[in-house]
Protein backbone atom coordinates (compact mmCIF):
# COMPACT_ATOMS: atom_id res chain seq x y z
CA UNK A 1 0.00 0.00 0.00
CA UNK A 2 1.20 3.50 -0.77
CA UNK A 3 0.45 6.80 0.96
CA UNK A 4 -2.29 7.72 -1.51
CA UNK A 5 -4.18 4.49 -0.94
CA UNK A 6 -3.62 4.89 2.80
CA UNK A 7 -5.27 8.32 2.65
CA UNK A 8 -8.39 6.72 1.17
CA UNK A 9 -8.89 4.39 4.11
CA UNK A 10 -7.45 6.34 7.02
CA UNK A 11 -10.82 7.86 7.90
CA UNK A 12 -12.55 4.52 8.05
CA UNK A 13 -9.78 3.02 10.17
CA UNK A 14 -9.78 5.93 12.59
CA UNK A 15 -13.58 5.89 12.81
CA UNK A 16 -13.52 2.12 13.33
CA UNK A 17 -15.72 1.48 10.35
CA UNK A 18 -16.00 -1.97 8.86
CA UNK A 19 -13.58 -2.28 5.98
CA UNK A 20 -11.97 -5.19 4.20
CA UNK A 21 -9.62 -6.99 6.61
CA UNK A 22 -6.81 -7.13 4.07
CA UNK A 23 -7.01 -3.40 3.38
CA UNK A 24 -7.00 -2.65 7.08
CA UNK A 25 -3.92 -4.76 7.77
CA UNK A 26 -2.12 -3.33 4.76
CA UNK A 27 -2.89 0.22 5.89
CA UNK A 28 -1.72 -0.43 9.44
CA UNK A 29 1.48 -2.07 8.31
CA UNK A 30 2.06 0.87 5.93
CA UNK A 31 1.63 3.36 8.76
CA UNK A 32 4.15 1.38 10.82
CA UNK A 33 6.77 2.00 8.19
CA UNK A 34 5.73 5.50 7.05
CA UNK A 35 6.19 8.32 9.57
CA UNK A 36 3.90 10.78 7.76
CA UNK A 37 1.04 8.30 7.55
CA UNK A 38 1.56 7.26 11.18
CA UNK A 39 1.08 10.89 12.26
CA UNK A 40 -1.91 11.18 9.94
CA UNK A 41 -3.55 8.13 11.51
CA UNK A 42 -2.81 9.45 14.99
CA UNK A 43 -4.42 12.80 14.14
CA UNK A 44 -7.50 11.09 12.75
CA UNK A 45 -7.84 8.89 15.81
CA UNK A 46 -7.50 11.90 18.09
CA UNK A 47 -10.17 13.66 16.03
CA UNK A 48 -12.50 10.70 16.40
CA UNK A 49 -12.02 10.74 20.17
CA UNK A 50 -12.73 14.43 20.43
CA UNK A 51 -15.80 14.20 18.27
CA UNK A 52 -17.06 11.34 20.40
CA UNK A 53 -16.54 13.41 23.51
CA UNK A 54 -18.58 16.17 21.95
CA UNK A 55 -21.32 13.73 20.93
CA UNK A 56 -21.43 12.30 24.47
CA UNK A 57 -21.59 15.76 25.98
CA UNK A 58 -24.54 16.60 23.76
CA UNK A 59 -26.29 13.28 24.18
CA UNK A 60 -28.70 14.55 26.78
CA UNK A 61 -29.62 17.62 24.75
CA UNK A 62 -33.24 17.62 23.72
CA UNK A 63 -35.95 20.07 22.85
CA UNK A 64 -37.62 21.71 25.86
CA UNK A 65 -40.95 20.28 27.03
CA UNK A 66 -42.76 23.42 25.87
CA UNK A 67 -42.09 22.42 22.25
CA UNK A 68 -44.03 19.20 22.72
CA UNK A 69 -46.87 21.04 24.42
CA UNK A 70 -47.05 23.56 21.58
CA UNK A 71 -47.00 20.83 18.96
CA UNK A 72 -49.74 18.81 20.61
CA UNK A 73 -51.86 21.95 20.84
CA UNK A 74 -51.19 22.56 17.16
CA UNK A 75 -52.23 19.00 16.38
CA UNK A 76 -55.56 19.60 18.09
CA UNK A 77 -56.10 22.74 16.05
CA UNK A 78 -55.61 20.88 12.80
CA UNK A 79 -58.88 19.14 12.08
CA UNK A 80 -58.50 15.53 10.98
CA UNK A 81 -59.88 16.46 7.58
CA UNK A 82 -57.02 18.94 7.15
CA UNK A 83 -54.40 16.26 7.70
CA UNK A 84 -52.95 15.05 4.45
CA UNK A 85 -54.13 11.67 3.21
CA UNK A 86 -51.53 8.91 3.55
CA UNK A 87 -49.51 8.69 0.40
CA UNK A 88 -49.57 5.57 -1.69
CA UNK A 89 -46.04 4.17 -1.80
CA UNK A 90 -44.09 4.35 -5.03
CA UNK A 91 -44.36 0.59 -5.58
CA UNK A 92 -48.15 0.73 -5.33
CA UNK A 93 -48.21 3.72 -7.65
CA UNK A 94 -46.26 1.71 -10.22
CA UNK A 95 -48.64 -1.22 -9.77
CA UNK A 96 -51.59 1.08 -10.38
CA UNK A 97 -49.95 2.55 -13.44
CA UNK A 98 -49.34 -0.91 -14.88
CA UNK A 99 -52.92 -1.92 -14.11
CA UNK A 100 -54.34 1.16 -15.85
CA UNK A 101 -51.96 0.60 -18.74
CA UNK A 102 -53.07 -3.01 -19.11
CA UNK A 103 -56.74 -2.03 -19.02
CA UNK A 104 -56.17 0.69 -21.62
CA UNK A 105 -54.25 -1.72 -23.86
CA UNK A 106 -57.02 -4.31 -23.53
CA UNK A 107 -59.69 -1.77 -24.48
CA UNK A 108 -57.64 -0.65 -27.48
CA UNK A 109 -57.32 -4.23 -28.69
CA UNK A 110 -61.06 -4.85 -28.29
CA UNK A 111 -62.00 -1.65 -30.12
CA UNK A 112 -59.43 -2.39 -32.81
CA UNK A 113 -60.85 -5.85 -33.42
CA UNK A 114 -64.40 -4.49 -33.52
CA UNK A 115 -63.36 -1.83 -36.01
CA UNK A 116 -61.62 -4.42 -38.18
CA UNK A 117 -64.67 -6.63 -38.18
CA UNK A 118 -66.89 -3.70 -39.08
CA UNK A 119 -64.64 -2.76 -42.01
CA UNK A 120 -64.44 -6.29 -43.41
CA UNK A 121 -66.61 -6.82 -46.54
CA UNK A 122 -69.60 -9.10 -46.05
CA UNK A 123 -69.14 -12.31 -48.08
CA UNK A 124 -71.67 -12.53 -50.88
CA UNK A 125 -71.78 -16.28 -51.11
CA UNK A 126 -70.72 -18.67 -48.47
CA UNK A 127 -68.38 -21.44 -49.30
CA UNK A 128 -70.02 -24.83 -49.33
CA UNK A 129 -69.96 -26.68 -46.13
CA UNK A 130 -67.73 -29.65 -46.17
CA UNK A 131 -68.14 -32.33 -43.59
CA UNK A 132 -65.37 -32.48 -41.08
CA UNK A 133 -62.71 -34.99 -41.80
CA UNK A 134 -62.00 -37.50 -39.12
CA UNK A 135 -58.56 -37.30 -37.73
CA UNK A 136 -56.83 -40.43 -36.55
CA UNK A 137 -59.05 -42.17 -34.06
CA UNK A 138 -61.95 -39.78 -34.39
CA UNK A 139 -65.15 -40.06 -36.28
CA UNK A 140 -66.32 -37.34 -38.61
CA UNK A 141 -69.97 -36.36 -38.56
CA UNK A 142 -71.68 -37.34 -41.71
CA UNK A 143 -73.53 -34.68 -43.65
CA UNK A 144 -76.38 -35.87 -45.85
CA UNK A 145 -74.91 -33.87 -48.73
CA UNK A 146 -72.02 -36.23 -48.82
CA UNK A 147 -74.03 -39.35 -48.70
CA UNK A 148 -73.32 -41.33 -51.81
CA UNK A 149 -75.79 -41.23 -54.61
CA UNK A 150 -78.29 -43.96 -54.67
CA UNK A 151 -79.64 -46.17 -57.36
CA UNK A 152 -78.21 -45.95 -60.81
CA UNK A 153 -76.30 -42.71 -60.26
CA UNK A 154 -72.81 -44.18 -59.94
CA UNK A 155 -70.77 -40.99 -60.05
CA UNK A 156 -72.11 -37.73 -58.85
CA UNK A 157 -70.67 -34.27 -58.82
CA UNK A 158 -70.72 -31.97 -55.85
CA UNK A 159 -71.06 -28.31 -56.57
CA UNK A 160 -71.57 -27.24 -53.02
CA UNK A 161 -74.98 -25.70 -53.51
CA UNK A 162 -76.86 -25.55 -50.27
CA UNK A 163 -80.33 -25.46 -51.71
CA UNK A 164 -79.77 -28.75 -53.39
CA UNK A 165 -80.03 -30.82 -50.31
CA UNK A 166 -79.91 -28.54 -47.35
CA UNK A 167 -82.23 -30.70 -45.33
CA UNK A 168 -81.58 -34.30 -44.65
CA UNK A 169 -84.06 -36.56 -46.25
CA UNK A 170 -86.28 -38.60 -44.12
CA UNK A 171 -84.77 -41.86 -43.15
CA UNK A 172 -81.20 -40.63 -43.47
CA UNK A 173 -79.19 -40.63 -40.31
CA UNK A 174 -77.24 -37.47 -39.49
CA UNK A 175 -75.44 -39.02 -36.61
CA UNK A 176 -71.71 -39.39 -36.86
CA UNK A 177 -70.25 -42.72 -37.64
CA UNK A 178 -71.12 -45.30 -40.25
CA UNK A 179 -74.19 -44.19 -42.05
CA UNK A 180 -76.88 -46.24 -43.51
CA UNK A 181 -78.10 -44.37 -46.56
CA UNK A 182 -81.69 -45.12 -47.10
CA UNK A 183 -81.85 -48.87 -47.03
CA UNK A 184 -79.17 -49.70 -49.57
CA UNK A 185 -75.75 -48.40 -48.51
CA UNK A 186 -73.66 -48.16 -45.42
CA UNK A 187 -70.70 -45.78 -45.40
CA UNK A 188 -67.69 -45.48 -43.13
CA UNK A 189 -66.41 -42.17 -41.81
CA UNK A 190 -64.37 -40.05 -44.15
CA UNK A 191 -60.73 -40.95 -43.74
CA UNK A 192 -58.21 -38.16 -44.42
CA UNK A 193 -55.76 -38.77 -47.21
CA UNK A 194 -53.62 -35.72 -46.54
CA UNK A 195 -52.68 -33.63 -43.55
CA UNK A 196 -55.05 -30.74 -43.07
CA UNK A 197 -57.67 -32.28 -45.28
CA UNK A 198 -60.48 -30.49 -43.50
CA UNK A 199 -58.78 -27.13 -44.05
CA UNK A 200 -58.23 -27.84 -47.74
CA UNK A 201 -61.93 -28.55 -48.18
CA UNK A 202 -63.10 -25.33 -46.56
CA UNK A 203 -63.22 -23.59 -49.93
CA UNK A 204 -65.32 -26.32 -51.47
CA UNK A 205 -64.76 -29.61 -53.20
CA UNK A 206 -66.19 -32.44 -55.19
CA UNK A 207 -67.12 -35.95 -54.23
CA UNK A 208 -66.60 -38.80 -56.70
CA UNK A 209 -67.83 -42.38 -56.38
CA UNK A 210 -65.17 -44.88 -57.39
CA UNK A 211 -64.69 -48.64 -57.42
CA UNK A 212 -61.53 -49.90 -55.79
CA UNK A 213 -60.03 -53.34 -55.31
CA UNK A 214 -60.93 -54.94 -51.98
CA UNK A 215 -57.28 -54.80 -50.89
CA UNK A 216 -57.63 -51.01 -50.69
CA UNK A 217 -59.44 -51.53 -47.39
CA UNK A 218 -56.24 -52.89 -45.87
CA UNK A 219 -54.41 -49.70 -46.87
CA UNK A 220 -56.62 -47.80 -44.44
CA UNK A 221 -56.39 -50.41 -41.70
CA UNK A 222 -59.84 -51.82 -42.34
CA UNK A 223 -60.47 -55.58 -42.13
CA UNK A 224 -60.41 -57.47 -45.43
CA UNK A 225 -62.54 -60.55 -46.04
CA UNK A 226 -60.24 -62.79 -48.04
CA UNK A 227 -63.20 -64.70 -49.48
CA UNK A 228 -64.22 -61.53 -51.28
CA UNK A 229 -60.71 -60.36 -52.18
CA UNK A 230 -61.47 -60.43 -55.87
CA UNK A 231 -64.53 -58.21 -55.53
CA UNK A 232 -64.51 -54.46 -55.91
CA UNK A 233 -65.48 -52.07 -53.17
CA UNK A 234 -67.26 -48.76 -53.60
CA UNK A 235 -65.76 -45.60 -52.16
CA UNK A 236 -66.51 -41.88 -52.15
CA UNK A 237 -63.43 -39.72 -52.66
CA UNK A 238 -63.52 -36.03 -51.72
CA UNK A 239 -61.45 -33.79 -53.97
CA UNK A 240 -60.49 -30.28 -53.00
CA UNK A 241 -60.67 -27.28 -55.34
CA UNK A 242 -57.04 -27.95 -56.21
CA UNK A 243 -58.07 -31.31 -57.65
CA UNK A 244 -56.26 -33.39 -55.06
CA UNK A 245 -58.00 -36.20 -53.21
CA UNK A 246 -58.44 -35.16 -49.59
CA UNK A 247 -60.55 -37.89 -47.97
CA UNK A 248 -62.18 -41.18 -48.70
CA UNK A 249 -64.98 -43.28 -47.32
CA UNK A 250 -65.97 -46.79 -48.16
CA UNK A 251 -69.52 -47.70 -49.00
CA UNK A 252 -71.27 -51.04 -48.93
Amino acid sequence: MNCQRFEEVVNDIAREQIIEAGAREAALSHSDGCGVCAVRLEDERAMTLRLRELAEAMESASAPARVEARLLAAFDQIAPSQLPAPRVSAARQYQRRYLFGAIAAGLLIVFGLLAMRALQPVPVARAPEIPPIASAGTRAPTDPQFLPPTGRQRVSGYAGSRNRSSKPKSGVSTKPGPVKNGSTEIATDFLPLTYGAATNLEEGGRMVRVDLPHSALATFGLPVNMDRANERVKADVLFGVDGLAQAIRFVR
Binding site: M47, A63, F75, P84
Partner: protein, 199 residues
Amino acid sequence: MATQVTDSELVRKMLGGDKTAFAELYRRRQRDVYRFALHMTGAADLAEDVTQEVFIVLMKKGNEYDELKGSVNAFLLGVTRNYVLRRLRKERSFVSIDDTLGDTIAAENASVNEALARNESIQAMRRAVLKLPPHYREVVVLCDLQELSYAEAAAVLDSKIGTVRSRLHRARGLLIERLRTSSDETAAEKEIESARCFA
Protein backbone atom coordinates in the same frame (compact mmCIF):
# COMPACT_ATOMS: atom_id res chain seq x y z
CA MET B 1 -43.65 -10.08 23.85
CA ALA B 2 -45.22 -6.93 22.46
CA THR B 3 -43.57 -5.61 19.32
CA GLN B 4 -42.87 -1.92 19.02
CA VAL B 5 -44.84 0.00 16.46
CA THR B 6 -42.56 1.21 13.68
CA ASP B 7 -42.07 4.86 12.86
CA SER B 8 -43.76 4.36 9.50
CA GLU B 9 -46.86 2.94 11.18
CA LEU B 10 -46.90 5.88 13.56
CA VAL B 11 -46.80 8.25 10.62
CA ARG B 12 -49.76 6.46 9.04
CA LYS B 13 -51.72 6.58 12.29
CA MET B 14 -50.86 10.22 12.76
CA LEU B 15 -52.15 11.01 9.27
CA GLY B 16 -55.35 9.28 10.28
CA GLY B 17 -55.72 11.78 13.12
CA ASP B 18 -54.18 9.73 15.93
CA LYS B 19 -52.70 12.26 18.34
CA THR B 20 -51.01 9.68 20.56
CA ALA B 21 -49.16 8.31 17.52
CA PHE B 22 -47.86 11.80 16.80
CA ALA B 23 -46.81 12.27 20.44
CA GLU B 24 -45.00 8.92 20.41
CA LEU B 25 -43.22 9.76 17.19
CA TYR B 26 -42.20 13.14 18.56
CA ARG B 27 -40.76 11.59 21.72
CA ARG B 28 -38.81 9.09 19.69
CA ARG B 29 -37.33 11.46 17.16
CA GLN B 30 -37.17 14.96 18.66
CA ARG B 31 -33.69 14.46 20.12
CA ASP B 32 -32.12 13.61 16.79
CA VAL B 33 -33.83 16.58 15.16
CA TYR B 34 -32.98 18.99 17.95
CA ARG B 35 -29.34 17.90 18.24
CA PHE B 36 -28.81 18.11 14.49
CA ALA B 37 -30.23 21.62 14.49
CA LEU B 38 -28.16 22.55 17.54
CA HIS B 39 -24.91 21.22 16.08
CA MET B 40 -25.58 22.99 12.83
CA THR B 41 -26.58 26.37 14.28
CA GLY B 42 -24.89 26.45 17.69
CA ALA B 43 -27.95 28.22 19.07
CA ALA B 44 -30.39 26.47 21.40
CA ASP B 45 -33.29 28.83 20.71
CA LEU B 46 -32.89 28.40 17.00
CA ALA B 47 -32.69 24.61 17.35
CA GLU B 48 -35.91 24.77 19.33
CA ASP B 49 -37.65 26.76 16.60
CA VAL B 50 -36.42 24.43 13.92
CA THR B 51 -37.57 21.35 15.85
CA GLN B 52 -41.03 22.80 16.17
CA GLU B 53 -41.18 23.70 12.50
CA VAL B 54 -40.01 20.25 11.45
CA PHE B 55 -42.76 18.46 13.36
CA ILE B 56 -45.37 20.87 12.09
CA VAL B 57 -44.19 19.99 8.59
CA LEU B 58 -44.62 16.33 9.53
CA MET B 59 -48.20 17.03 10.56
CA LYS B 60 -49.03 18.91 7.39
CA LYS B 61 -46.92 17.12 4.80
CA GLY B 62 -46.39 13.72 6.39
CA ASN B 63 -47.93 12.14 3.31
CA GLU B 64 -44.77 13.08 1.41
CA TYR B 65 -42.85 10.54 3.41
CA ASP B 66 -42.15 7.41 1.33
CA GLU B 67 -40.82 4.49 3.34
CA LEU B 68 -39.16 3.05 0.24
CA LYS B 69 -36.87 6.05 0.06
CA GLY B 70 -35.63 5.88 3.65
CA SER B 71 -36.47 5.89 7.32
CA VAL B 72 -38.72 8.39 9.05
CA ASN B 73 -35.63 9.63 10.87
CA ALA B 74 -33.89 10.33 7.57
CA PHE B 75 -37.00 12.14 6.34
CA LEU B 76 -37.15 14.29 9.48
CA LEU B 77 -33.43 15.07 9.38
CA GLY B 78 -33.76 15.98 5.71
CA VAL B 79 -36.51 18.47 6.57
CA THR B 80 -34.41 19.73 9.49
CA ARG B 81 -31.47 20.28 7.18
CA ASN B 82 -33.56 22.33 4.79
CA TYR B 83 -34.87 24.52 7.60
CA VAL B 84 -31.44 24.93 9.14
CA LEU B 85 -29.85 25.94 5.85
CA ARG B 86 -32.68 28.39 5.26
CA ARG B 87 -32.15 29.93 8.68
CA LEU B 88 -28.39 29.97 8.23
CA ARG B 89 -28.82 31.96 5.06
CA LYS B 90 -31.14 34.40 6.81
CA GLU B 91 -29.16 34.88 9.99
CA ARG B 92 -25.49 34.72 9.21
CA SER B 93 -24.03 34.75 12.73
CA PHE B 94 -24.44 32.04 15.29
CA VAL B 95 -22.17 32.25 18.30
CA SER B 96 -24.14 31.27 21.32
CA ILE B 97 -22.74 28.15 22.93
CA ASP B 98 -24.05 28.97 26.40
CA ASP B 99 -26.34 26.06 27.10
CA THR B 100 -26.26 23.51 29.89
CA LEU B 101 -23.25 21.72 28.46
CA GLY B 102 -20.81 23.02 31.09
CA ASP B 103 -23.01 21.84 33.96
CA THR B 104 -23.23 18.33 32.52
CA ILE B 105 -19.49 17.99 32.35
CA ALA B 106 -18.82 19.54 35.76
CA ALA B 107 -21.18 17.09 37.38
CA GLU B 108 -18.95 14.16 36.49
CA ASN B 109 -16.73 12.57 39.11
CA ALA B 110 -13.51 13.95 37.79
CA SER B 111 -11.30 16.51 39.33
CA VAL B 112 -12.22 20.12 38.67
CA ASN B 113 -9.13 20.71 36.57
CA GLU B 114 -9.76 17.68 34.43
CA ALA B 115 -13.38 18.64 33.99
CA LEU B 116 -12.39 22.17 32.98
CA ALA B 117 -9.81 20.90 30.54
CA ARG B 118 -12.27 18.51 29.02
CA ASN B 119 -14.90 21.19 28.85
CA GLU B 120 -12.48 23.48 27.11
CA SER B 121 -11.57 20.78 24.63
CA ILE B 122 -15.19 20.07 23.85
CA GLN B 123 -16.03 23.74 23.41
CA ALA B 124 -13.06 24.14 21.10
CA MET B 125 -14.26 21.17 19.09
CA ARG B 126 -17.73 22.60 18.96
CA ARG B 127 -16.50 25.93 17.74
CA ALA B 128 -14.38 24.23 15.11
CA VAL B 129 -17.37 22.27 13.85
CA LEU B 130 -19.47 25.42 13.72
CA LYS B 131 -16.82 27.17 11.67
CA LEU B 132 -16.92 24.53 8.98
CA PRO B 133 -18.83 25.41 5.81
CA PRO B 134 -22.39 24.02 6.08
CA HIS B 135 -21.90 21.25 3.50
CA TYR B 136 -18.92 19.93 5.47
CA ARG B 137 -20.50 20.58 8.84
CA GLU B 138 -23.59 18.53 8.08
CA VAL B 139 -21.64 15.39 7.21
CA VAL B 140 -19.56 15.64 10.38
CA VAL B 141 -22.71 16.11 12.45
CA LEU B 142 -24.55 13.25 10.82
CA CYS B 143 -21.73 10.72 10.52
CA ASP B 144 -19.55 11.51 13.54
CA LEU B 145 -21.81 13.20 16.06
CA GLN B 146 -25.07 11.40 15.32
CA GLU B 147 -23.39 8.22 14.13
CA LEU B 148 -25.42 7.68 11.00
CA SER B 149 -24.05 5.33 8.37
CA TYR B 150 -22.85 6.72 5.05
CA ALA B 151 -26.03 5.40 3.43
CA GLU B 152 -28.32 7.02 5.99
CA ALA B 153 -26.45 10.31 5.74
CA ALA B 154 -26.69 10.14 1.97
CA ALA B 155 -30.47 9.66 2.29
CA VAL B 156 -30.74 12.70 4.56
CA LEU B 157 -28.62 14.86 2.29
CA ASP B 158 -30.16 13.45 -0.87
CA SER B 159 -26.73 12.77 -2.31
CA LYS B 160 -24.48 9.84 -3.14
CA ILE B 161 -22.56 7.79 -0.60
CA GLY B 162 -19.30 8.65 -2.36
CA THR B 163 -20.07 12.34 -1.95
CA VAL B 164 -20.71 11.87 1.76
CA ARG B 165 -17.43 9.96 2.18
CA SER B 166 -15.34 12.50 0.35
CA ARG B 167 -16.95 15.44 2.15
CA LEU B 168 -16.39 13.80 5.50
CA HIS B 169 -12.78 13.16 4.64
CA ARG B 170 -12.26 16.78 3.69
CA ALA B 171 -14.23 18.08 6.70
CA ARG B 172 -12.16 16.07 9.16
CA GLY B 173 -8.98 17.28 7.51
CA LEU B 174 -10.16 20.89 7.96
CA LEU B 175 -11.02 20.23 11.61
CA ILE B 176 -7.58 18.78 12.31
CA GLU B 177 -5.92 21.79 10.71
CA ARG B 178 -8.05 24.30 12.59
CA LEU B 179 -7.69 22.64 15.95
CA ARG B 180 -3.94 22.44 15.50
CA THR B 181 -3.81 26.12 14.57
CA SER B 182 -5.99 27.15 17.51
CA SER B 183 -3.95 25.07 19.98
CA ASP B 184 -0.74 26.64 18.62
CA GLU B 185 -2.27 30.11 19.07
CA THR B 186 -3.36 29.26 22.62
CA ALA B 187 0.10 27.98 23.48
CA ALA B 188 1.67 31.13 22.07
CA GLU B 189 -0.73 33.33 24.07
CA LYS B 190 0.12 31.43 27.27
CA GLU B 191 3.80 31.79 26.55
CA ILE B 192 3.43 35.55 26.14
CA GLU B 193 1.41 35.86 29.34
CA SER B 194 3.95 33.90 31.36
CA ALA B 195 6.78 36.00 29.87
CA ARG B 196 4.96 39.15 31.01
CA CYS B 197 4.64 37.73 34.51
CA PHE B 198 8.35 37.15 34.78
CA ALA B 199 9.21 40.45 33.17
